[in-house]
Amino acid sequence: MKKKSLFQEIWSQKFFHFWALLGVIFVFVISYASTFGLVIAFKNYNIADGLAGMFAGPWVGFKHFSDFFIDANFVRILRNTLVLSGLKLLFSFPMPVLLAIFLTEMRFDRLRRFSQTVSYLPHFVSWVVVASIVQVFFNSMSSGLINSMLLQIGAIDNAISFLTDPRAFWALAVLSDAWKESGWWAIIFIAAIASIDPGLYEAASIDGASRMQRIWHITLPGISHSIGVVLIISLGNIFTGGMSGSNFDQSFLMGNNMVLDASEIIPTYVYKMGILAGRYSYATAIGMFQAAISLIFIFGANYFSGKLQGQDEGLLL
């Protein structure tokens, strides 16, 4: 039988290739072609020149990058970004795994379903609403629910300044992020747990393994690949807030002038410098710096995840 040429091969699958091509075009336009705009990080872009300004503006090399590195706010916003994301990674990341295990271990099916539904509903609440809820719960004026309650029962003498203390901002951000997103991300791990062979659990039970031992020796190894993939995604998004990518929304909506010292992060600084102050080239350079660091994180996480799984290469690439 005569072998088909490449063209014939493609033509015979033209319907599928058409759809694949649409996807390639979409990715190219959205993810690659638009990145040409990053060129203004190396130029003095003038918005008065419109799109042509990307070509017409004078080259300034790495001036905007070096300006950022000596910016008085550089250390503070880099610290805030890393600490906030690091705390989320430390506390918010394990929550969906624990929740998934907790839910799958529940004996009552109805209660399990109800709990799962309730746990992922906050994912659909916008950060604007969450910020308002946080304000209502934690403000230290007469309308603050938590402070009112603590004062009523005599647990405190003076209201606690949850919303005006920079140290409290990180805690509130991590708590609200975990509350909002744990249920949603738990879905992935519940699906991973569901794919584990039930025979393993039965065999372990016959051998006398306790529930904790089954979780430790079967469930966790069984979902370790999923945990690794989610970890890589989280590290790739570390500057934007890990899994949920909530850093900008949180800092913008829950941050205020009193806690700016803790809430100002790279994405909000990009917004201030770019949109509010009109320093578009400078803001683009800062954004590019953030992207470059994120890329290093994602490659690093991929490599180490692979190593932890006993592979020579990364999990994803």
Partner: protein, 538 residues
Amino acid sequence: MKKRGSLFTALLLTAVMILSACSGGQAPAPAGDGGNAGQDAAQAQGSDAGAAENVELSILVNMDWFFMDNWGGRPVDDVITRETGVSLNVTRVADDQQLPVLMASNQLPDLVYTDSMLLELSNDNQCYELGEFFRQYAPNMPLPNEQTGIAKRDDGNFYYLVNFWKTQKEWDDPHFLPSVGSSGLMYREDILAETGMQLPTSMDELEALLIKVKELYPSIVPLALYSEGERYTFFINQYMVDSPSYMIAEDNGDWSYFAGTDAYRDGMRTLNRFAQQGLLIPEMFTLMYEQYIQETQSGNVFMWIDDSSNLEMNNNAFQTMGLDSARAAFMKSAVYQEAPYPYVDPSGGWAGTFVTKNNKNPEATARFLEWMTSDEAGKLVGWGIEGQHYNPDSNGYPILTPDVARMWVEDYDKTVRDTGVGAWFFGTNAWYESVRIYAPEENPPMTEYLMYVKSNQKMEPALATLRPNPNTDESAALASLNNTVKTYYPRIIFARDGNEFERIMDELQSQMATQGLLQYNDWAANRWTHLKQVYGIS
């Protein structure tokens, strides 16, 4: 059958993707019902089609707080359309990003009405140079130097028609009052009466009054400051630094960025002392604008910063809350009487109208703007329709009809939205609205307060042009300085003690030094020297 189903699904998906791609490529959707700016421009072109009447021009109102997002159906709008043959397709921006996006993508509509990015828009690529534009399309249109001078760039060109400009003649008119949006310190009259104290005439007296209020009413916030917008700059200008503008202040004979002056340090030290005594509450600095207003109208605050037009609205809010005895008033005693430099009205207007290069009908646009800057239009947009909203007295000043006068007092914004009066100030002289506000019988508190403000101000038009050009080192320095100072503002106020206060102030000074403070000061001093020569200021 299955294949048909797949085909149908495929076609549906394609349609969705194409539609998504199209919508994603457009500029952000406007908040109003005017539709997309690019579409607006196309509509303007289509609807005009060579006709001299009933031209529709698209306009972007770059003020997300603006009273309305549409045109027509209001008495003033309809008269303008009748007189000019122009109706507007209004798009009010939803956020700060919309105008920059439209500029960068060259999708500006026919007109832009904006209170920000005035210098960024002042360029030949995107907007008409109006001197040349009106010479060509409306050669008889008067363009007073007092108006064009505010908008002129160093090369003598100007690209926007500024509104609320004024001359010394108008300023000297006894009926002429400062802007209705003038900020002031508002206080609860009933609580002041309870303290048995007089209005303060110095910061020390103000402190004593606030302490007394705190003693009598422990649950009430003695003083509520705000760290955004005009409420932020007002307090700094009026009570802290000898500053003609918040960007520049006189400091031992030299010109300096305000936060670098000794006066700023002293003012912040006073506020820190207030905070340590619980006269200022940190939570007030966490509130968004609407929340701040809500809090001040709740009756839980003794003294706060507010617009002059909000006085009666606050009193109505108190009534609604059941606080029958509560009355708001403006503090008219000069706390900062010893200031060597009086608070200055820079006379720069508050918004400009641009004619963009995308404008599809320059002739109709010129005709429209020429009429909008006429005396007839000034009376219409400033006072309303004669006989319906006002009647002129023997000296030509408007006497508001009783119903309309009451509407203005009860709800200023709603009156603008219902009538169209007080909205469309395209190049309008400040005098028209100003003399309408002058209502010593209908609205004595606001009139008296604004007369007080005026008596403490001097007019300095040159200050309106004391601003760095975009994309310059000094504009970058100013942006960084403003951001840093705002970041530090509440931190300094709420420093735990004197030592921490001095440490944070020193930290601020060193941060500003790395952000081009000296460079900005040099630029400001040179620029001011130049402006003084141009404007003949001694």
